[in-house]
Amino acid sequence: MSDQIGAVFAALSDPTRRTVVQSLLQEGSTSVPALTATLPISRQAVAKHLAALEDASLLERMPQTGREVRYRLRGDALAPATAWLKDAESAWEGRLGRLKRAVEKDPQP
């Protein structure tokens, strides 16, 4: 789980990739030419960013209809984030319980 959330986090730590994800939230799908037209970076740089997002399982290629490869957000893109929230919640439940027992049992002088 932590590897997966780490990959998602790393992918989204880059401002250009966040812009790509943001535009996918608005447009639904995108492609290398479409992004190259709107972003101030090269076609190669765009392709690299899309590959990084694909590696982090945030994007997937859509079934191809024409010559152009189009990308969309994966439906389960947020699953690692949801898992992190659950884990962190139960971890703090346990830690706070231990903290309570520690300070109540063993007060400082």
Binding site: S2, D3, I5, G6, V8, F9, A10, L12, S13, R18, V21, Q22, L24, L25, Q26, G28, R72, L73, G75, A77, L78, A81, W84, L85, A88, E89, W92, E93, R95, L96, G97, R98, L99, K100, R101, A102, V103, E104, D106, P107, Q108
Partner: protein
């Protein structure tokens, strides 16, 4: 993206702060040697913020608020992953998924 949990304890804010802010104090309840703690700020006995993370985990920010009650103390902890833009993502995610 953040989680928030709280608990009430029968101890003074100073005792709680001690247990959070010092290594000796943490040894009594926090057994996670693989996570390195880097303290961001200390404001005894009301507030403590640290960052931590394991080797292959992104760093998260842990913010403790220590509130004195008529009898005892309330500890509120918020752990967050600030660079994860979950709010922005999830707000419109339904539209895309549909």
């Amino acid at each position: 993206m953040e989680v928030r949990r709280e608990i009430e304890v029968e101890a003074s804010p100073e005792e709680v702060f001690e247990a959070l802010a010092t290594e000796e104090g943490r040894e009594r309840w926090l057994d996670e040697p693989d996570r390195q703690i880097h303290v961001e700020s200390l404001d005894p006995p009301e507030r403590l913020v640290w960052w931590w993370g394991g080797a292959d985990e992104p760093a998260t920010r842990v913010d403790f608020r220590i509130v004195a009650l008529p009898a005892g103390t309330r500890v509120v902890v918020t752990e967050s992953m600030p660079s994860f833009p979950l709010a922005g993502l999830s707000a419109r995610f339904e539209l895309v998924a549909a």
